[in-house]
C-alpha cells in the first residue's frame, strides 16, 4: 500500500518521464582531452618555461601552431596528425607510463571530429588557469536527475523520503516516530507563518485527526497572508534588505525601500513562479514595453522588483568618491551572486577567486551585465535614482490635506500671536508707569533701528520682548499654554500624516546612452581600468560554451537588455545553480540545515551536499513544475522526514550527532522576528496589517533602539513618541536600520545586513535572559495580557491555565504544572500584597483584582521566558 501511494505521488510529480541527461558524443578538448594531457604531457609540453620540442599542448591553437617539427594536428584527420602518430606508437609520452587504450581512443576520436574546443581559446595560455578538479566541482555541473530510490522497510510518503531513507538505511537507522499532533501543528505553523497556532487551531487539528487534516492544515497555512511575511522575510535576508544606506557616515534612511519588501511578500503570497520572481528582480525595468504608466499595476510591480539590486549598502548620498561608488556596486554584485548563484563572487574583484575557478575577468564580465545600472563615471546618487509615480488623485489629495493643515496652522499661529501680545502687554504692565510708553515703543521698534535709550530700556526690563520672541519662547513665559498649543500642533502634524504617501520607487534602471565600457579593474582599483570585457556569465558555470545571448548593438535602445538576457539564462531551467540554490534555502528553513549547509556558498570552500541526489531531484522537479514554491513546501511538509519527532537517542547521537542524515527532526530556536511576533500574538497584541511604510525605530534615552520617533522639544531630544497600535505590527514591518536594529530583535540575533545574510546564527547569552526578566516591554505586555485573561476567565483558574498553556505552548497543562502555577500565584500574591509602595497600595484598595493580575502577569512572563516557548520541536 505504501508503495502504491508513493508511486502515485511520483507520477504526479512527473517522475515517470525519462530524465534527459546532457547531450554526449561530441568531444571537446577542455572536457575530454585536456585532462589527459594535463596528467601526462603538460609537465614537458606546457608548464615549464622551456618546452620540449618547443611544443605547448595546453591549447588546441598551440597544437596547431606546433613546435620544432611543425603543426602536430590536422583537424579531422588523425592519421595525418603528428600528435596521433606519436601517441599511437607509444613514442609519447616518453616515460614508462603510457596512455590507456581508452585514452588513446578519446584523442583519436576527438581529432577525427575536428579537434573541437568547447569555446574560443584565450589569447594568453596562462588564462587557462583552473584545474579540472575545480571545474568539475559538483555544483558547477548540470543538475542530474536520478531515479527515486525506494528502500524497503521505510514509511515513504513523498519522493523525498526515498532519498533520505536510503542514506538512513546505509547506517541502519530507522525514521524516528512521527511527532505528536500538537508538536506537528506547532512546528508547521511556525515554519510556514512565523506564528504559533491559536488554541482554536490546535483544538480543531487535534480533535479531528482525520487523515486529511495534515494536508488541509498545510494548505490553510500556505494560503494565509502570514505565509508571505514569513517566507518573504527569509528572502529579504538573502537580498540584504535594509532601510538605510550603510557606510560610515550617518547611515541615512531609505524611506521608500519598504515597497520592495512588500513586493517580495506579495510575490510569495501569490506563489509567483520563482523563475519569474528572479527575472523581475534582475530585469523588471526591461520587461516594461513603452513608457512607464503610473496607473499600470504591472509596471509598478516590475519597477519595484528591481529595488533588489539597490538593497546593498550605498553611502554615495553622503560620501560619493569613486571608491564609494565602486564598493556600492561591488556589494550589489555580491548580493546578486550569493542570493541567486550561491557563490561568493566578491573574492574575484581584486584577484582570482581563492577557491573557486572564477577569475577577475569572470568577475568583471559578470559585473559588465550590471555596469549600465552601476556606471561609476556617470553615477547617480540614491535620491536622484528614485522615481516619483504618485498618481494624480493622490497629489490632489495631498494638496487638499496640506491646505487644511496650513489653514489650521495659520489660525493657530494667529492665536498664539494674540496670546503672546497679551503676555507682552502684561509684562509691560510690570514696567514703572512712567517708562511704559517708551518701553513699548522700544520693543515694537525693529532691533536694528533702536536708539541707545531704547536698548537701555529693554536691557533694564528684560522680560519685555518682541511678540515673536515671546511666541517662540512661550514654554518659559507660560508653560501650560505652551503645552496646549503644542498639543494642537501635534494634531496638525497628525493631519499631515494622513497624506497619501508619495509613491517614490527605489528603482534600478538604465539611462539611455549611459553604457560604460566595462573593464577589469587592475588590482581591483576603479581608478585603474585595465582590459575591456564584454558582459558574460561565469565561465565555470557555462563549460559547454553556450551563448547567453547578450544583445550586441544596444546603442539605439533605451536599455541594453543585458540583464534580461542574463535573467533568462539563469531561469531557463538548465542553469546549474539557480534552482539548486533556491530549493536548498527552502530546505534549510524547514529543517534548520540545508542539504548544502552553506546556503550562500556552493563553491569549493562551501559545504558538500549531504544528499546530492535529493538536491538535484528537488531542483529538477522544481523546474519541471513551473518553479512552484508552494508545491515544493507541500512535498517537504507531507514527507515522513519532516514529520518525525526531534528526540535524540544514544544511538543517533553516536552515529550522527549533527543529524545530517535526518533520522529525526531538529529542535530549532525561534528567530528574532518569530520571538517578537509570537510574544505579541500570544499576549493578544499583534496587529496583522500587511504592507506599507515601516514602523520607525529610534533610540531612547538609555541608548536602546525602540519603536517610535524622536520627540523634539525646544530643539532637544525629548523622549520617544510611540506608534500606538503600529508598534505591534509584525517584525517584517519594523524599520531596518543597519546601525540601529530594534533592541529586541538584535538581542535575539537578527543579522545586520552587510551586505546580506546567508545564514543566521543563534546565540545563547545572558542578555537574552535579562530581556525576558527585566525589559519594560515584556512586563507591559504581560501586564495587559493578564488583565484580559482574568476578565475572560473570571471564575476558573484551571480553565484560564488551560487556555494560557495552549496559547504559549500549544499544549495541555499537566496536573503537576497546574499545581506549580497555583502555588506560584499564591506566593506572588502574598509578596505583592506586602509591597509597601504607596501608589500600589492605593491601587489594590481600589481594585482588588490588581493583585491577581500582577501575579498572573509574572506567571505569563515565566512561561514566555521558558525554553518550551522559545524552541520548536
Amino acid at each position: 500500500m505504501r508503495q502504491v501511494a508513493l508511486r502515485v505521488l511520483l507520477l504526479l510529480t512527473g517522475i515517470s518521464s525519462a530524465s534527459g541527461g546532457p547531450l554526449s558524443g561530441e568531444l571537446t578538448f577542455e572536457k575530454h582531452v585536456r585532462p589527459i594531457f594535463k596528467a601526462m604531457c603538460f609537465h614537458c609540453h606546457g608548464d615549464e618555461e622551456e618546452k620540449e620540442g618547443e611544443l605547448d599542448v595546453r591549447l588546441v591553437r598551440l597544437l596547431k601552431e606546433g613546435g620544432k617539427s611543425g603543426s602536430v594536428i590536422q583537424a579531422g584527420n588523425p592519421a595525418e596528425s603528428l600528435l596521433w602518430q606519436r601517441i599511437e606508437s607509444d613514442e609519447m609520452p616518453d616515460g614508462s607510463k603510457k596512455l590507456t587504450a581508452e585514452e588513446k581512443q578519446t584523442i583519436r576520436d576527438w581529432i577525427k571530429q575536428g579537434a573541437k574546443t568547447a569555446r574560443p581559446e584565450p589569447d594568453n595560455v596562462e588564462d587557462v588557469r583552473f584545474t579540472l578538479e575545480e571545474l568539475e566541482h559538483w555544483a558547477f555541473q548540470p543538475v542530474h536527475r536520478t531515479e527515486i530510490p525506494l528502500p524497503e522497510g521505510y514509511d515513504l510518503a513523498t519522493p523525498i523520503d526515498g532519498f533520505i531513507a536510503t542514506r538512513l538505511a546505509g547506517k541502519d537507522l530507522p525514521f524516528s516516530k512521527k511527532a505528536d499532533l500538537r508538536t506537528r501543528i506547532r512546528r508547521v505553523t511556525m515554519d510556514l507563518t512565523g506564528l504559533l497556532p491559536t488554541p482554536e487551531e490546535v483544538e480543531t487539528f487535534t480533535e479531528n485527526p482525520s487523515l486529511l487534516a495534515w494536508s488541509r492544515l498545510i494548505d490553510r497555512l500556505l494560503a494565509s497572508p502570514e505565509y508571505g511575511i514569513r517566507w518573504g522575510r527569509h528572502w529579504l535576508d538573502s537580498a540584504g534588505y535594509a532601510e538605510s544606506d550603510g557606510g560610515t557616515s550617518g547611515d541615512s534612511k531609505r524611506p521608500h525601500a519598504w515597497r520592495y519588501r512588500d513586493y517580495v511578500i506579495n510575490s510569495f503570497n501569490k506563489n509567483e513562479p520563482v523563475n519569474r520572481f528572479i527575472r523581475e528582480q534582475l530585469s523588471g525595468d526591461e520587461m516594461i514595453e513603452g513608457e512607464i504608466d503610473p496607473y499600470n499595476a504591472r509596471h509598478l510591480r516590475l519597477l519595484t522588483a528591481t529595488g533588489f539590486m539597490r538593497m546593498a549598502p550605498d553611502p554615495t548620498q553622503t560620501s560619493n568618491s569613486l571608491d564609494d561608488r565602486n564598493m556600492a556596486a561591488a556589494d550589489a554584485i555580491q548580493v546578486i551572486s550569493s542570493s541567486m548563484l550561491g557563490l561568493t563572487l566578491g573574492c574575484a574583484r581584486c584577484h582570482d577567486h581563492k577557491y573557486d575557478p572564477i577569475g577577475t575577468d569572470d568577475y568583471y564580465g559578470f559585473r559588465a551585465i550590471f555596469d549600465p545600472v552601476f556606471p561609476l563615471q556617470n553615477w547617480q546618487q540614491p535620491n536622484a535614482r528614485l522615481i516619483d509615480l504618485t498618481p494624480d488623485e493622490d497629489r490632489t489629495e495631498t494638496d487638499r490635506i496640506e491646505k487644511i493643515a496650513k489653514e489650521m496652522e495659520e489660525e493657530l499661529n494667529g492665536r498664539k500671536k494674540t496670546f503672546a501680545e497679551q503676555i507682552q502687554k502684561k509684562k509691560l504692565d510690570d514696567v514703572p508707569q512712567e517708562l511704559q510708553e517708551d518701553t513699548k515703543t522700544a520693543v515694537l521698534t525693529p532691533a536694528k533701528d533702536r536708539t541707545n535709550r531704547q536698548k537701555e530700556l529693554l536691557d533694564l526690563y528684560p522680560m519685555v520682548k518682541p511678540v515673536s520672541f515671546i511666541a517662540g519662547f512661550l514654554v518659559e513665559y507660560d508653560n501650560p499654554a505652551y503645552r496646549k498649543f503644542e498639543k494642537e500642533r501635534e494634531k496638525i502634524t497628525e493631519i499631515r500624516e494622513t497624506k497619501p504617501p508619495k509613491r517614490m520607487i527605489m528603482v534600478t534602471r538604465e539611462r539611455p546612452g549611459v553604457i560604460p565600457q566595462s573593464t577589469v579593474f587592475f588590482r581591483g582599483n576603479p581608478a585603474n581600468p585595465g582590459k575591456p570585457v564584454d558582459p558574460a556569465g561565469l565561465g565555470v558555470l557555462n563549460q559547454s560554451g553556450e551563448s547567453i545571448g547578450f544583445p550586441v548593438n544596444q546603442n539605439n535602445s533605451k536599455t541594453t537588455g543585458r540583464r534580461t538576457a542574463y535573467a533568462k539564462h539563469l531561469t531557463d531551467g538548465r542553469h546549474p545553480l539557480t534552482a539548486r540554490v533556491f530549493v536548498n534555502r527552502v530546505w534549510h528553513y524547514h529543517f534548520g540545515r540545508g542539504i548544502v549547509a552553506t546556503p550562500g556558498n556552493f563553491g569549493l570552500d562551501g559545504s558538500l551536499p549531504s544528499h546530492p541526489n535529493l538536491l538535484d531531484w528537488l531542483a529538477d522537479d522544481f523546474v519541471r513544475h513551473g518553479w512552484d514554491q508552494k508545491r515544493l513546501h507541500r512535498m517537504i511538509l507531507l514527507s515522513t522526514t519532516y514529520q518525525q519527532q526531534s528526540t535524540r537517542t544514544e544511538r543517533l547521537d553516536e552515529v550522527d550527532p549533527d543529524n545530517i542524515l535526518l533520522a529525526r527532526a531538529n529542535l530549532k530556536r525561534l528567530e528574532a522576528e518569530a520571538i517578537r511576533d509570537s510574544i505579541l500574538s500570544v499576549t493578544e497584541n499583534l496587529k496583522l496589517e500587511t504592507g506599507g511604510p515601516s514602523v520607525p525605530v529610534t533610540v531612547n534615552g538609555e541608548g536602546k533602539a525602540v519603536i517610535g520617533i524622536q520627540k523634539i522639544r525646544d530643539g532637544l531630544a525629548a523622549g520617544v513618541k510611540g506608534q500606538k497600535s503600529a508598534a505591534f505590527r509584525r517584525s517584517a514591518f519594523i524599520e531596518v536600520q543597519r546601525s540601529l536594529p530594534l533592541n529586541l530583535l538584535a538581542t535575539f540575533d537578527q543579522p545586520v545586513m552587510s551586505p546580506n545574510c546567508d545564514l543566521r546564527r543563534t546565540t545563547t547569552v545572558p542578555t537574552q535572559a535579562l530581556w525576558f526578566l527585566n525589559d519594560e516591554q515584556i512586563v507591559e505586555l504581560t501586564d495587559h495580557f493578564s488583565e484580559r485573561l482574568i476578565s475572560q476567565f473570571p471564575e476558573s483558574l484551571e480553565s484560564l491555565l488551560h487556555h494560557l498553556f495552549s496559547k504559549v505552548f500549544s499544549s495541555v497543562p499537566t496536573q503537576d504544572e497546574i499545581w506549580a502555577c497555583r502555588d506560584f500565584l499564591n506566593r506572588q500574591t502574598k509578596h505583592f500584597r506586602k509591597d509597601p509602595d504607596e501608589k500600589w497600595q492605593n491601587e489594590i484598595k481600589k481594585n482588588p483584582k490588581a493583585l491577581d493580575q500582577r501575579s498572573l502577569a509574572s506567571l505569563c512572563q515565566v512561561l514566555l521566558a521558558s525554553n518550551r516557548f522559545l524552541y520548536i520541536d
Partner: protein
Amino acid sequence: MHKMAHQLCSRRHMLHTSAFGLGSVAAGWLLKQDDLLAAEPSSDPIKPELEPMMHDLKPKQPHHPSQAKAMISMFMLGGPSQIDLFDPKPELIKRNGETFPGDVKFDNPAQASREIMAPIAKFRPHGQCGMELSELVPHLGEIADDITLIRSMHTGSNNHLPSNYAMNTGRAVSGRAVLGSWLLRALGSETQELPAYIALTDPRGLPLVGGENWSNGKLPSIYQGTMVRPVAPRIFNLDAPRHLKGTPQQEQLRLLQQFNQDHLDQHPGENDLAARMKSYGLAARMQVAAREAFDISGESDSTKQMYGLDQKITLDYGTRCLIARRLVERGVRFVQILCQGQVWDHHGAIKTALPQRCAEIDKPAAALVRDLKQRGLLDSTIVHWGGEMGRLPVIQFRDGLTQRDKVGRDHNTYGFSMWVAGGGFRSGYIHGRTDEFSHHAVEDIVHHYDWLATVLHQFGLDHQQLKFRIGPRDLRLVENGEARVVSKLLS
C-alpha cells in the same frame, strides 16, 4: 515502475495539479490508507533515552598545577606589521628600494612588488633587557622588562580568515571552538555573577567574522563568549522592574527552572536548552555584579590617566582595557578586546594608518600590563597582544606605482611577532628570530598550535588531554601532532 505509471495514467490528468498543487485533498486521500497503517503516537509519556547531558561552569581542577587563572587577549585582526613595530632589520634599511633577493609569498600578486621597504619608524632598545622596539610603540617600550616578545610566529595560512581561525581555534577552518570556550570548558568559571568569557568589541563595528571570534563551535553553548555592548550601558536590562525586584523575581526564576528542567528531561542531550537555563541564573546574578564591574567611575584619576581616558584618541581602547582589568579582578576567565574589522590590514597607506592605530592602542595596552602588575594580578593573568599575521618586507602598491605615499605591505603569516605578559611567561625576553628580511621565521619557530598548547599549559591543561566527545569523534583545540609546549617562553 513504468507499468504502474501507465495503469495510473487515467488518473493523472485529474490529479495533476492536486498533489502538491492547488489543494491537497486528492493527495491526502491517497495518503489516507497509509496514514491508517502508520501507528499514531502512543499516549505514553516520552521516556528519555539519554541522560540529560549537563555541562556547567563550576570551577574545575586542571590537569596539573597552573600558573594562569585568566587571560586577556588584545587581538589585532588584520596583521600588525612586525617590521615596523617589533622586528628591527638593519638589512631592510640598508637595502631600502632594492629588489628583494629571494622568494616572497604574496597574498595578492596583483599589487605586489619586490621592492624592499625599510621600516617606517626607528627602533631603539628599551628596558634592562634592551628589547628593540619601534618608536611607534613607546609605551610598550616602558614595559619591555615585563613582556615576552615572540618574533617567530607562524601559521602559514596566508589570509585573514584561515589564519585567524588558526590562531584562535587551532585550525585554519571555520566552525571550531575558540580558545576562550575551551578554557571555560576545562576550568569553569571563578565568577558566578558575570559571564566567564566576555568579548569587548570596538564601537566602530564588529571584528572580521563577528561572533565567530567568540564562538563555542561545537562545544556546548554555555561556553560561548558574551559580547557586551561596545558603549555604555554595556549591558541592557540590568534592573528588575521595581515590583519584581527581590523575592518575586526569585520566585519567577524558580518556576522557570522547574519548567525548563521538565522540558530538558523530555529533550535529553539538547545542549542549547541546558545552556539557556544556565543563562537565567547568570542573568539574575549579573543584575548586581555587572553594573558594578562595568562602572569605571570609581577608578582613581591617576588610573584613568594611565589608560589614556583623558585623551580622545585612547579613550575607547583605554576604557575597554580598564574594564578588562576589572573583569579579571572579578573572576572572569577570558576577556577579548577586539578591533573593528581587520584594522591592522595595511595593504595601503601604512605610513599614516599604522601610526594612527598605534596611537590608539599602545598606551592603554601598556597600562593594562602595568596596572595588573601593580595589583598583583599579572602573575596569574596572561596578557596577549597580537594578530593573525604580520606583513611583508616589500612594498605593496595598492593605489598604483606612482602613489608612493600610499604604499603598504601585504600579508605575511610565515614570520610575525606578538607579545605576551604575565601568567608565568618570561619577562624581558625575546623569543625566536626571522630571516634578515623578516619574512620567514627561522629560529625557535612558534606555530599557532604551539602557542595554544603553551597557553593551555599555563592554565594547567595538557593539550593532548583536552578533548570533547561528539558522537564518534573527539574534538580538540590542538590537533596537530607536532604541537609542543614552548618551554623557553616560560619562566
